[in-house]
C-alpha cells in the first residue's frame, strides 16, 4: 500500500515538475519559435517559390532560385569578397588581440590607458566607427592622404577604387573587434600560474620560448572560442558598408549579408535573398556543429 502511495506521489511530483518546466519555458519558446525557428523554416520555403508580382502569383519553382543564384556573377563576387573578408579579418584581429593582451598584461607604463584605448572601439556602433574612419579615407584631405603627402606620395581614393575598397572595410572591422577579443586573452593570461614563468626562467628559457611553448598552448581553448566568434563576425559585421562603400565600386566590397539586404529591400527579390539566407544558415550550422562537436568536446567547462 505504502509503496503504491509513494509511487503515486512521485508520479505526481514528476508531472508537476514537467508542468512547471513547460510553463516557465513557454514564453521564451514562443518568442524563439516566432523569431528564430519559424523564420528559418519559412526562409527555406520562400527560396523554393518564384517572386510574386501583381499579375503572376508566386508559384513553386523548386531549386530554380538557387540555379539563378549560381548563374549570377555578382553572387560569386560577393562570396569571393566575403571569403577574403574572413581570410583577412579573422587572423589579423586574433593576432592583434593576442599581442594587445600580452602587452596589456605586461609591466608597461600607462597600462590602464593602453587597455582602455584597445577596448574602446568595442562600445562604439559600427555606423559611428564608419563615420570616424571616413575622416581617414576621404581622398584629398583625409588623414591617410595627408600622411602619404608628408612622404610625397600621391593621393589615394581608398574607398573609391576596387583594389583598396575591401581592404579599407577590413581595417575598420579589425579595429572594431581586436580589442574585444583581447579581453578574453587577457582573462586567460591571468589564470596562468606565475610559477610557470619562474620555472621557465630558471630553466633559462627566453621570453619568446616561454610564450610559444607555455603560454600559446594554454591559450588554445580561448583561441578556438575567439575563432568561432570571429567567423560569426565575418558574416555579421557589415554595418559600415552602408556608410563607407555601399558595396562598391562595382561590387568590389560587397559582402553577402549586405547583398541579402540589397536583394530583399532594394531589388525586392525576396526568393533570391531567401536562397542566399539558406546558404548562410548552412554555413552557420556547420560552424555550430564545429563548436559543439569539436571545441566543446575538447574544452571541458561547466
Amino acid at each position: 500500500m505504502r509503496a503504491i502511495a509513494m509511487a503515486e506521489t512521485l508520479h505526481h511530483l514528476r508531472r508537476r515538475r514537467a508542468i512547471h518546466g513547460w510553463l516557465l519555458l513557454g514564453p521564451a519558446l514562443a518568442m524563439l519559435a516566432t523569431f528564430a525557428f519559424y523564420p528559418s523554416v519559412a526562409t527555406i520555403w520562400t527560396s523554393l517559390f518564384s517572386r510574386g508580382t501583381r499579375r503572376r502569383p508566386q508559384e513553386f519553382v523548386g531549386l530554380e532560385n538557387y540555379q539563378r543564384l549560381l548563374d549570377d556573377p555578382t553572387f560569386w563576387t560577393v562570396v569571393k569578397n566575403n571569403l577574403f573578408y574572413a581570410g583577412v579579418t579573422i587572423p589579423i584581429s586574433i593576432f592583434l588581440a593576442l599581442v594587445m593582451a600580452l602587452w596589456a598584461n605586461a609591466r608597461i607604463p600607462a597600462r590602464s590607458f593602453v587597455r582602455t584605448a584597445y577596448f574602446t572601439p568595442t562600445v562604439l556602433p559600427m555606423i559611428a566607427a564608419a563615420n570616424l574612419w571616413l575622416f581617414f579615407y576621404t581622398p584629398g584631405f583625409g588623414v591617410l592622404d595627408q600622411v602619404l603627402g608628408l612622404f610625397g606620395l600621391p593621393s589615394v581614393n581608398w574607398l573609391g577604387q576596387p583594389e583598396t575598397a575591401l581592404w579599407a572595410v577590413c581595417a575598420v572591422t579589425i579595429w572594431k573587434e581586436a580589442g574585444f577579443f583581447m579581453i578574453f586573452y587577457l582573462a586567460a593570461l591571468q589564470t596562468i600560474p606565475p610559477d610557470l614563468k619562474e620555472a621557465a626562467e630558471i630553466e633559462g628559457a627566453s621570453r619568446w620560448t616561454y610564450t610559444r611553448r607555455v603560454v600559446l598552448p594554454l591559450l588554445m581553448p580561448t583561441t578556438l572560442f575567439i575563432l568561432v566568434n570571429a567567423m560569426i563576425n565575418s558574416v555579421k559585421l557589415i554595418d559600415h558598408l552602408f556608410i563607407l562603400t555601399k558595396g562598391g565600386p562595382s561590387d568590389a566590397s560587397k559582402l553577402i549579408l549586405y547583398y541579402i539586404w540589397e536583394s530583399a529591400f532594394a531589388f525586392f527579390d525576396a526568393p533570391s535573398a531567401a536562397a542566399m539566407t539558406v546558404l548562410v544558415l548552412g554555413v552557420l550550422g556547420a560552424l555550430a556543429a564545429f563548436q559543439f562537436f569539436v571545441i566543446d568536446r575538447r574544452t571541458h567547462y561547466q
Partner: protein, 268 residues
C-alpha cells in the same frame, strides 16, 4: 633585457595611439570648422557651431528617445524571458529538458541579422513594423541570455533553495526571493552587454523602421551622414560624437564593470 623587450612599451603605446586616433580626430573635427579641421590648424578656435548645425539637421531628440526606449524594452523583455527559462533549465528537472536546451542553443548560430527577410515578413504580419517593440522583439528570447541565467542559477547553493521551500515559498517565490537576488552580478553584466549591443545595433532597426517615429540613433545617424546628403566632415563628426557620447561616458566611468561584463558574457 633584449632589444625587442625594450621597444615593447613603445610599440604598445604606439598601437594604443593608433587605436584611439579615429576618436581623437572626430572630437577634434567636431569642435572646429571643417577647413581648420582638415588642415590640422592647432591654433584654430574651438567652436560649437557644428553641433548646432547637426542638431538642427535631424530629429535627434526623437532618435535619442527611441534608442532609450528600445534598450529599455529589450532589457525588460530579456530579463523576464531569460530568468524564467534559465531557471527552468537550471533547477526544474523534467523530461525533454535537454533536447529543448540544445534547441535553444541552436539560436546562438541562427543570427537575427541573417533572418532579416523572413523576420520582416513576421513583423509585418504581427503589425510590428515601425514600432519599438518590432525592433526589440527578435532579440528578447536570447539564447545567450538563457544560457547566462542558467549558469548563474546553477551556482546558487541548494540549501538556500531548500530553506525557502521549507518556509512555504512557491516555485516562483523561491525564484524571486532566492535566485534572482543571488544572480545580481550576472544581471548587471547582462544589462551592460545588452544595452551596448542594442544602442549600437543597426541592420534590423534599419529594415523594420520606415519613419522617424521609431527610428533609433544608429539609423538616424546613417541617414544624416549619408554621402549623398553632402554634409561636411565636421558636422558628421559632431553628430557622431553626439551619438556615441552617452555610451562612451558610461563606459569610461564604469570601465571595470564593462570589461567584466563582456568577459562574463563571453566565457560561458
Amino acid at each position: 633585457m633584449n632589444p625587442i623587450a625594450r621597444f615593447e612599451p613603445v610599440l604598445a603605446l604606439t598601437l594604443a595611439a593608433i587605436w584611439i586616433s579615429p576618436l581623437i580626430f572626430a572630437f577634434w573635427a567636431a569642435f572646429h570648422s571643417s577647413s581648420d579641421a582638415v588642415n590640422f590648424n592647432l591654433a584654430a578656435p574651438w567652436t560649437l557651431e557644428n553641433f548646432r548645425t547637426a542638431w538642427a539637421g535631424a530629429p535627434w531628440l526623437r532618435y535619442f528617445l527611441n534608442s532609450f526606449l528600445l534598450v529599455t524594452t529589450v532589457l525588460i523583455g530579456q530579463f523576464f524571458l531569460c530568468t524564467l527559462a534559465g531557471f527552468a533549465f537550471a533547477q526544474v528537472a523534467f523530461r525533454g529538458r535537454d533536447v529543448l536546451f540544445v534547441l535553444v542553443l541552436l539560436q546562438l548560430f541562427i543570427l537575427p541579422e541573417v533572418l532579416i527577410v523572413e523576420n520582416y515578413a513576421v513583423a509585418a504580419r504581427l503589425g510590428l513594423l515601425d514600432s519599438i517593440l518590432g525592433i526589440g522583439a527578435p532579440y528578447m528570447a536570447s539564447a545567450f541570455g538563457i544560457f547566462l541565467m542558467r549558469q548563474a542559477f546553477k551556482s546558487v547553493p541548494k540549501e538556500l533553495d531548500e530553506m525557502a521551500r521549507v518556509e512555504g515559498c512557491t516555485l516562483l517565490g523561491v525564484l524571486w526571493r532566492v535566485y534572482v537576488p543571488a544572480a545580481r552580478p550576472t544581471y548587471l553584466a547582462y544589462a551592460l552587454v545588452s544595452v551596448s549591443t542594442h544602442w549600437n545595433n543597426f541592420l534590423w532597426p534599419l529594415v523594420v523602421t520606415n519613419n522617424e517615429s521609431s527610428r533609433p540613433l544608429t539609423v538616424g545617424l546613417s541617414i544624416f551622414a549619408a554621402p549623398e546628403n553632402g554634409v561636411d566632415i565636421s558636422v558628421i563628426s559632431a553628430a557622431t560624437v553626439m551619438v556615441i557620447a552617452p555610451l562612451l561616458i558610461l563606459f569610461l566611468v564604469f570601465q571595470r564593470s564593462f570589461v567584466q561584463a563582456f568577459l562574463r558574457a563571453g566565457i560561458k
